[in-house]
């Protein structure tokens, strides 16, 4: 019977010929990831009575959420994770300042097309940009994978999203993803996998695919997959992780739960308004709302093309005096490249505050927490009440271009009105 890419990957890892949506399987995991969440995973691992991580080479640990440690308690957590990596011979350990876990998984060659990846972070589906089935689980789940190599999963129904045509100027992957969240809702893909296809997706780079897969989490998706193509293969080869195996593709005639079709040419800059990611409107409809902070970065949008888009708008201009613009590259590699290309110089000259690669203020723990009544426009993934500090603050989510344009004007601004 014809199967979707997700079903094929899960069947292969469950040691079955086929799987059916709704079925529960115990599947072999190729790669597991944890960040500061490893602290609970380590506690659970010890309580399970496990001594050794089964396959240390299949484990990635990253310190990214509160880096450098913002308080003593976090410093102790970091020390614990470092010691565990050392004790268990986990060589794929990325310490403070290397970047956000999802970026590092892709950039350091840990993601293989067709792989089954679990991460103790909800945005783990980001790795689907390279054709893996990657899903977010809890830290105790990850501990069980360390101990047994396997995890229980419900086989998801699949949603196929087909996007055709070219993005208009000033419009990109974030606008596409936000349009889709607005259309299907924050629960629209719950317990389901999304598979993206179409000429628009074929034209995108891996960075844009990562943005799309990352924001699929905000539709409730368990995983999001872009089938590997020449762009994928070139990217992997460029990371020193060339892939020659047969790529997993959906069969023609595979059964989908829902099919969505979008035309890229009809999209425009979009913004998710407080306090839910599916409260989406065109930027022009909320233009003029004043902001206090603008955030450019994160696993959603902290890559080179994002910094380039913002630098393109802010070159020779100044961030409005009433706005704090915070810039966080998604990794050290990206930051270095952005420095070489002059993007960081441009952003600093415009008045930006540069932070170390990592999660930055996204989760509201440090590095740009909001006061009651403040408004922030951000390229990050969540605008829940209280996400970035005070529950009385407002968070708007938008693309790097919209965030840069808004930082320049001091009010929410359609980037097409300031592009040169």
């Amino acid at each position: 019977m014809a199967a979707t890419a997700s079903e094929k990957i899960l069947a292969r890892h469950a040691g079955q010929k086929k799987v059916t949506p709704g079925e529960f399987v115990e599947a072999r995991v190729d790669l597991s990831m944890a960040h500061e969440s490893a602290r609970i995973a380590i506690q659970s691992f010890r309580k399970m009575g496990a001594k050794r991580v089964l396959r240390p080479q299949s484990v990635v640990l990253v310190l990214d959420h509160r880096t450098p440690a913002e308080c003593e308690e976090t410093a102790v957590v970091h020390r614990l994770v470092r010691a565990f990596a050392d004790e268990q011979h986990i060589s794929n350990f990325y310490d403070v300042g290397e970047g956000v876990c999802h970026q590092l998984l892709a950039e350091k060659g840990h993601v293989r097309p067709g792989a089954l990846i679990v991460g103790a972070d909800s945005h783990t589906p980001t790795a689907g940009a390279l054709g893996a089935f990657a899903t977010g689980v809890g830290p105790t789940d990850v501990a069980s994978v360390w101990a047994t190599g396997k995890i229980w999963l419900r086989v998801p129904e699949t949603i196929r999203v087909c996007v055709e045509g070219k993005f208009p100027p000033g419009v990109g992957a974030t606008d596409l993803a936000l349009s889709l969240v607005g259309r299907i809702g924050a629960y629209g893909a719950e317990y389901r996998a999304i598979e993206y296809c179409g000429s628009t997706i074929a034209l995108t780079g891996i960075g844009e695919r990562m943005t799309l897969c990352n924001l699929s989490t905000e539709m409730g998706a368990k995983a999001a997959i872009v089938e590997p193509d020449q762009t994928t293969m070139s990217y992997l080869a460029g990371q020193g992780a060339a892939f020659n195996g047969p790529a997993v593709r959906a069969d023609p005639g595979a059964s989908y739960d829902v099919k969505q079709e979008l035309l890229a040419g009809e999209l425009e800059p979009m913004v998710a308004c407080p306090h839910s990611v599916d409260n989406v409107r065109p930027v022009r409809k909320v233009a003029g709302r004043s902001i206090d902070q603008a955030v450019l970065g994160s696993c959603t949008n902290g890559r080179l093309e994002d910094l380039a888009a913002a630098a393109g708008i802010l070159k020779g201009r100044q961030v409005a005096r009433s706005v704090r613009l915070i810039v966080v590259a998604a990794s050290r590699t990206i930051l270095l490249e952005a420095i070489r290309k002059g993007f960081i110089g441009t952003l600093l000259e415009a008045g930006a505050v540069l932070e170390n690669p990592g999660c930055g203020p996204c989760l509201g723990a440090h590095q740009g927490v909001l006061a009651p009544g403040e408004s922030c426009i951000s390229t990050t993934s969540r605008n829940f009440k209280g996400r970035m500090g005070s529950p009385e603050a407002n968070i708007f989510l938008a693309s790097p271009a919209t965030v840069a344009a808004s930082a320049f004007r001091g009010v929410i601004t359609d980037p097409r009105t300031v592009m040169r």
């Binding site: 529960f24 969440s37 602290r39 609970i40 506690q43 659970s44 309580k47 399970m48 009575g49 496990a50 509160r66 308080c71 308690e73 976090t74 957590v77 991460g119 103790a120 972070d121 909800s122 977010g136 689980v137 809890g138 830290p139 105790t140 789940d141 501990a143 069980s144 101990a147 047994t148 229980w152 924050a186 629960y187 719950e190 317990y191 409730g220 368990k222 839910s276 989760l363 509201g364 723990a365 927490v369 969540r382 829940f384 009440k385 209280g386 996400r387 500090g389 529950p391």
Partner: protein, 180 residues
């Protein structure tokens, strides 16, 4: 299998209670249920932990405990295990909701916190009403009036994890049996 029936007083909540609302990111540097508990649902319910305690102060046959009854998408968002940990720390006995955030649902089962999908619970149950979560039957029984609301029964292996007290003891047993 243990016959799972958990009784308690309902604390009724609305739709889309996010993991940031259950426990804010700034508190997730902690992982002890007791220390997380005072911050559980901060900004949603004033002194939630106190409300759970008061709900549990049952007369007669010992304390009752509290059961959250929520609308759609309870626990949407982060993978933070601190969310179910904070609820457990506050003394919550079970969570009933119209639907759940996927990872919260996993985490709850993994920590031994019973969860029941029950579409109509939040619109029928009143705050403070005594309810019984019948996990084996996949039902919610409303105290006093004998009314029964249908829910979704958990798959057997998830019941097995809950029976063992969560994923940690479940895996521990499997490792000891050499079945992992």
């Amino acid at each position: 299998m243990k016959a799972y029936a958990i009784s308690g007083r309902a604390i009724v909540l609305g739709d889309d209670i996010t993991t940031d609302a259950i426990i804010a990111g700034k508190h997730c540097r902690m992982a002890d249920p007791e220390r997380l508990a005072p911050h559980a649902l901060e900004g949603v319910v004033v002194n939630f932990a106190g409300k759970v305690k008061r709900a549990g102060a049952g007369k007669g046959n010992g304390p009752l405990g509290a059961i959250i009854v929520a609308g759609k998408n309870f626990g949407v968002g982060s993978s933070r295990e601190q969310a179910p940990l904070a609820l457990l720390g506050a003394g919550v006995k079970a969570v009933v909701a119209r639907s759940f955030g996927r990872i919260f649902f996993r985490n709850a089962v993994n920590l031994g916190l019973p969860v029941l999908k029950c579409p109509r619970a939040a619109s029928v149950i009143r705050d403070g009403q005594t309810v019984t979560v019948d996990l084996a039957g996949g039902l919610l029984r409303c105290g006093g009036e004998g009314r029964v609301l249908p829910g979704e029964r958990l798959p057997l292996f998830m019941m097995g994890i809950l029976d063992d007290g969560g994923l940690v003891p479940h895996i521990k047993r499997r490792l000891m049996d050499g079945k992992a």
